[in-house]
Symmetry: C2
Subunit: 357 residues, 2 copies
């Protein structure tokens, strides 16, 4: 009795109808008489029948599956993203096919696997996408949305935080607090997110007349960030403010400064991150950071993807989600500009008018 799978034929026989009638019972909007439907449903229940989604996908030409590729999971941002993504896709009746461990972008073999499953769409989070692979997707008719990465080598939709605005805000915040010697702990240099954050931060400092930014590579890993921070803070001209490309590294930076070097944060050195992941708000860190709103980013990504799945008319687009600078305890506070909003403190440049919500 184990492994016995019931098909619509058996249900039809038991209900005394044709197989088509069974199919129509499980197809919303199909023409079926109420009493026939009842009889079929009763037979289906008794036999434990469930329509075979594989066969349905084959005939329908779409699988209702979305491939999700995530580079790495150590950074808390990605589990949070994945969690939200799974929920949203489930609510829309889609299944999530997960692929992981591809920080440098999916390999050709992996890519072939994904395309072989005839997924209705792909979401790539924190992953590079070569234009060759993007072309392959276009040829196969599979819409793609990048999350937390953009690419200018190919015309692909993407959802990112407004990294340039965020990084400029960090620079202004630190300048307003009186800092003059800055350090930057970089992520992977080829990632668009790191590029945007780094160049915008550097630009805003330059606008304030500060041309030297000490830069060390953290590679988006905690070990790398620790080493980078130690290098920065053991220099004779050590910076008194460090901006880390993300929270994951900022936490390692704080530990390196406080525990390994015995420095006080923020008295001896201010540390600011980016993302506002869960641990950033843990009291032992109380990290000042720029939020990267997971829900909004996922909503935008899913919406963009669904628009492109629905019709060919939807254009490729890049969505930039703004995020507030959340003020906690890891960086010196400017005397002005910090306001309490919704149970947390945020900072907005004083010169600009206050935007909505």
């Amino acid at each position: 009795m184990a492994g016995r799978i019931v098909t619509s034929v058996e249900v039809a026989r038991r209900a005394g109808v044709s197989r088509s009638a069974v199919s129509r019972c499980f197809t919303p909007g199909a023409s079926i008489a109420p009493e026939t439907r009842d009889r079929v449903m009763k037979a289906a229940k008794a036999l434990g029948y469930r329509p075979n989604a594989i066969a349905r996908s084959l005939i329908a030409g779409r699988s209702r599956m979305i491939a999700v590729v995530i580079g790495y999971m150590e950074n808390q941002f990605y589990p949070a993203l994945l969690d939200r993504l799974a929920r949203d896709l489930q609510d829309l009746g889609y299944r999530l096919l997960l692929f992981t461990g591809a920080p440098e972008g999916p390999s050709d073999a992996l890519f072939a696997e994904i395309l072989g499953y005839r997924v209705d769409g792909m979401i790539l989070a924190s992953t590079l996408l070569s234009s060759a692979l993007a072309d392959e997707c276009r040829a196969a008719g599979v819409p793609v949305v990048l999350v937390n990465r953009t690419t200018d080598s190919a015309d692909v939709s993407s959802v990112v935080a407004d990294n340039r605005t965020g990084a400029r805000a960090v620079a202004e915040f630190l300048l307003a607090a009186g800092h003059r010697r800055f350090g930057y702990v970089a992520g992977i240099a080829s990632s668009s997110t790191n590029q945007d954050r780094e160049t915008a931060f550097r630009e805003r400092l330059a606008e304030a007349g500060i041309d030297t930014l000490l830069r060390e590579d953290g590679g988006y890993t905690q070990q790398g960030a620790r080493d980078a921070t130690l290098r920065l803070l053991t220099r004779p001209d050590r910076p008194d403010a460090i901006f880390c490309a993300n929270d994951h590294m900022a936490i390692a930076a704080m530990d390196a400064a406080r525990v390994e070097l015995g420095l006080r944060v923020p008295d001896d050195v201010s540390i600011v991150g980016y993302d506002d992941v869960g641990p950033a708000s843990w009291p032992s860190y109380a990290l000042t950071t720029v939020e990267q709103p997971v829900e909004a980013m996922v909503s935008a990504a899913v919406e963009t993807l669904m628009a492109r799945i629905a019709g060919e008319g939807a254009p490729e687009r890049t969505v930039r989600i703004p995020g507030e600078l959340v003020v906690r305890g890891s960086a010196r506070r400017p005397v002005e500009g910090v306001t309490a909003v919704g149970g947390r403190e945020i900072w907005r440049p004083q010169s600009l008018p206050r935007s909505a919500s």
Copy 2:
């Protein structure tokens, strides 16, 4: 040209062979002449052909997909588990269908969805499984493995840490350090993992003549753990050692004790967790905890699942993975029994002979 999917028919036509020959080229071990294979492969490459995994699944009767259900993702243990799981399954040629947000167990609707996709197996992490649903799986011939949960209401395979031994070790460790007043921050009471850890901890204390254990419910959440810790530590007879059902809560407990109450850890109160997740080793916490080896647990789970997929002969079994008590700074150290092994310090009961590795 977009959305055009190439089938084996077109490849066959271009290569001047039958469709069967094309199929055999993509079936390892099939009988095919080398030069035919070359011609077919060349045609496939030119047309961008990839075998349709959906159709293949339909004919083969198995989808090479494994459904993974995870209760929640806040606790770092689960992303780590998922990451490892995805890698292992990928290496074995299986795809991972992810479902999330079901801490109380998958709903009937979700379950029907999963079964509809004719997955070859299911892995349920931190999720309850009713015996009715277990029976449904058995009837459908879908092997199931629980991870980090056991059930005695149904005969289902599972992989768990050796929670009883681990919790006993914690009790002995704290007793050896001279503690006498204990608190326990519980997880969800119905979860087997919490039950095992709590009862074993309590039993070992009782064996030492200590019958009072102050218990507060943390519900596996950080908010719950914070509240529970505050309740424990503001009592007149406050405990000087707290065991939390997992690290996720232990971290919140440390923050509540140190930041909110101004207590020193471990001088005023020792705090011990369970899991050894990433943040446990962050220097700001340096949590003393019992490891729950992710790799070993995932390996065991995958192995168990594969055995049951391969043949009906494999019996249901429960695997218990042992884990060391990792000594860091969040709990008072006993004068004896702590040894350095492989770059970290672990503790083993002195009375017992030292086990291998």
